[in-house]
Structure formats: structure tokens, C-alpha cells
Symmetry: C2
Subunit: 237 residues, 2 copies
DNA sequence: GCCTGTCTGTGTGTTGACGCACATACAGGG
DNA sequence: CCCTGTATGTGCGTCAACACACAGACAGGC
């Protein structure tokens, strides 16, 4: 098993693909490739982060956990970003949990290395900041969508956001887990998913969901999805 | 009328109060004090920002405007922060509007100056980033609160967030405007506000609201308020 | 004092999501 | 093949927030 990152693998993460050759050369020996299983927690709310993560095929969900145990997703990170921005933003911790939503591969790098490279102030520095701004847009749009849109629309948004970060059309995820992500009831997801299946946009059996018709999903989504998508392209495209 | 900032006035903004003496000396000649009337728009969604703002007594609301015209607040900025983080984050614009929620004073500074000082990489650089992380927490918590909590709880949260940034106990704001901020109906605010008035926590007449009992409001708020408050203190206290 | 515009209060009916209960269906191990 | 655990489907009553309609109530200008 390889314990060192190849340039070829690393650039599957969009942020690593955008840094300069010099920077990537410095980063590569410190990027450790690992596989993340569904449900693994990368860090807990308020917990110091030892590593930052650059996913390639894995998807990580940023979840807030209420005192009464209910949860709500505030953002999602795939090969378009990184997990652990609090390291270079200066806070070191955040009041939310990072959990693997879809199993896959990622690179991890020690926090100290992250800070060192960030403070060099090169292109890497700027890319991290622009990514952070894109993430802010995603979180903002989540707030707006939670306030103003139906569960149906939000499920479409969530599926599209996931699909964008997925290497295939298959999503291994029970309706119960999706409900936790969106902060709604499981039955609400059952209803919405059935409608989408009847429309022929998706199919699923027991936690194995396939996206059949992306265009169909896009017809059912609210404007929130496109706003986030456009902003990511503008900032990092 | 003074057109140059005094050190004494500037440090009423918490971020300016936290920078080094050297940095503040460089910033002061570029900080222009102005008064902002209720409702003034500092920048529109997608519009290039010419200035950044450091409020002292004014409060600015960050609003998202839907295609159908409905609105929702994603964050609020007072003397604890600044408006225009997209300038140093690298995006230059954001997909939301900044509008004066409570009339008052602020300093404005040209974007170029902001970028210059930020790229020097001193304490100012770090403070801006830590503030950005605090703002992310506020936006995240807004998302969670929108999903899981009642209008009553959210009104309490909103009043407390405003009160924290206000030099007095009076808030000039109609129920209609508050409804737009929270992204709910005006009647919903009427109901919630009446309950708070009956409990003796607030009093109001035609757009003039007074906070009578802060502790009372805190008893009706959800955990979201304290999470944000604690995180601001941790990052910037 | 009157008029007008704005702000707040209230009623009625509707709806989307919730909580709870339980039925059905499928998968994998023994 | 049966058993068990997990995943999904469905019904029912409840409730918070919605849309719409309109009634006071107050402020400021004429």
C-alpha cells in the first residue's frame, strides 16, 4: 500500500490541482492517502484538529449537533475542497462535527504543515481563502434554503450537491441518514424520495441510491443549488 | 465635521481595537467616519465593493434576496466586526446584500487599502481571518436555527444579537422589517412580539422597540445564541 | 380637525411537516 | 429455511406557520 501521494492522484482534488508546482512539490511528501469508511468522524465539535483533509472520492459532511441530539448539515466537502479550514483561519476548532457521508479516498496532512505552507502566503494561501469564501456561500445558501424551501426541493439540492462530488451515480446512504443530514424526519425523506422515484429521476433499494436523470432533479430543485454552483466556479474555476 | 478618524473613536470597533499600534497608525488616515441611515444599502448581491466598513454604533444585516423577492438574513455585523470580507478573501463580491438594520456610525476604508494591509500579514491579517471564522459560525448557526427552531425562539435570538451590538436598549425597526430579516411573515412576528411584551421582556409602539428585560429574553432563546456568543469571545475576546 | 399612509392586531381556512404507531419488505447469519 | 435486524411505506392526529382579508390605531401633513 502506498503511503506517499503521487502528483497524479493528488490533483484529483481541485484545490491541490490549482496550487503552483513548487507548492505541490513541498506538499506531496506530507500528503498521506487514506480510505475513509462511511460514518467515520474526522473531528468532533470543539475538538482540536490534528489533520486537514483533501478528499478525492470521499464526501464529508459538516454537521451541527443540538443539545437534544437532533442534527443538521451546514455544508458538504468533496474533491472540490478541504476539511479543516479552522486550522489556517486561526480558531483551530469549530463547533461542528465532520463525518464521512460517502466512503472514499482522501489525503490527510498534519496541521502544522498546513499552517506552515499557508503562512508562506503564496498561491496556496489565496486558494485556501477563496475556497473558504465558496464554503461561506454554501453555508449561507443552506440557511436560506432551510428557511424558505420545502423538503422536496432540499432533497433535490442535496442529491445534486452530492452527485457533483461523486465519482459515480451511486450513493450508499439510507433515508434515515439523509434525514439526519437535512434535519428533517425520515418519513419526510421517504415521501420525497418516492416522488423522485416515480418521476424516474432516481431509484433506490435499502440504502443504495442511483441517480438516473440529473436533468430531472435539476427541474425540481430551488435556485439555491445553482447559486452555490456558480459561486464555486467563479471563485475556484 | 471630522473627516479623519481618531484613535479614540476607532477602537469602539472591536477589530480595530485589537490590531497593533503600528497597524492602527497606518489605518487611521484611511478610515473615514460616516453616519449610515436605516435602510441604506452598502453593497448589492454580486456588486464589486469599493469600501469595507468597520461599524461602531451602526448595525448591518447581510441579506439574501430570492428570485421571487422574499428575503432571509444570513448574518449581522456591528461593532464586533466588519462588512466586506470578500475583499480580502479574494472573491471581491458575494451573492448577498448588505443593508443598514440600525442607523449609526461606521468607518469606511477603500478596498485597495484593505488589501494592502491584509497582505502585509501582520496581526491585522490574523484578526480578519479569525473574525471570518466567527462569522462562519454565526451563519452556520443561522442555518441550524432556521431548520430546527420556532419563530418565537428566533425572534429572541435576533433581538439578543441586535442588543449585543447596540449602544442602547432601543431598536428602531418595524415588525415588517424584522419579518423580512428572519424570512417569516409579519403576522408571525406580531404574535411572537406580543408574547414577549406580555411577559414584560420588551415594549414597542409603531417601530420603536425597547428591550426591558435581557435575562427574560435569554430564558426564551434557543442554544444557538449562546453558541455564537461563545465562539466570538473565544476567537476575538 | 380631518385625511392618509403606515403599523399592528386578529380571524379563518389551508398546508407542510411533525410525532407516533405499525405494517411490510428485504438481507444475511445461523 | 427461519429468524432477526434494518430499511422503507403508510395512516392518523396535531401543530406551527402560511396566505389572505380586514379592522383598529396612531402619526404627521394639510
Amino acid at each position: 500500500m502506498a503511503t506517499e501521494a503521487t502528483r497524479e492522484e493528488a490533483v484529483k482534488n481541485h484545490l491541490l490541482a490549482a496550487v503552483s508546482d513548487d507548492e505541490l512539490s513541498r506538499l506531496l511528501p506530507n500528503l498521506q492517502p487514506i480510505s475513509l469508511p462511511l460514518g467515520q468522524v474526522l473531528y468532533e465539535s470543539g475538538e482540536t484538529m490534528d489533520y486537514v483533509y483533501f478528499p478525492t472520492t470521499a464526501i464529508i459532511s459538516l454537521l451541527y449537533i443540538m443539545e437534544n441530539g437532533s442534527t443538521a448539515e451546514i455544508g458538504v466537502v468533496g474533491n472540490d475542497g478541504m476539511v479543516g479550514i479552522a486550522i489556517f483561519m486561526g480558531g483551530n476548532t469549530t463547533p461542528n462535527r465532520a463525518v464521512v457521508q460517502s466512503a472514499g479516498k482522501t489525503f490527510k496532512m498534519r496541521s502544522e504543515m498546513m499552517k506552515d505552507e499557508f503562512t508562506r502566503g503564496g498561491r496556496f494561501h489565496n486558494i485556501c481563502l477563496r475556497y473558504t469564501q465558496a464554503l461561506i456561500t454554501q453555508i449561507s445558501q443552506t440557511a436560506v434554503c432551510n428557511r424558505l424551501h420545502s423538503v422536496d426541493q432540499q432533497l433535490c439540492r442535496w442529491l445534486l450537491l452530492s452527485h457533483d462530488r461523486l465519482p459515480s451515480n451511486r450513493l450508499i446512504m439510507t433515508q434515515d441518514l439523509i434525514a439526519n443530514m437535512l434535519g428533517v424526519r425520515r418519513e419526510g425523506i421517504t415521501h420525497a424520495a418516492r416522488r423522485l422515484q416515480k418521476a424516474g429521476y432516481i431509484s433506490y433499494v435499502r440504502g443504495d441510491m442511483t441517480i438516473l436523470d440529473r436533468v430531472g432533479l435539476e427541474s425540481g430543485v430551488c435556485e439555491c443549488y445553482q447559486v452555490v454552483r456558480t459561486e464555486y466556479d467563479r471563485l475556484l474555476g
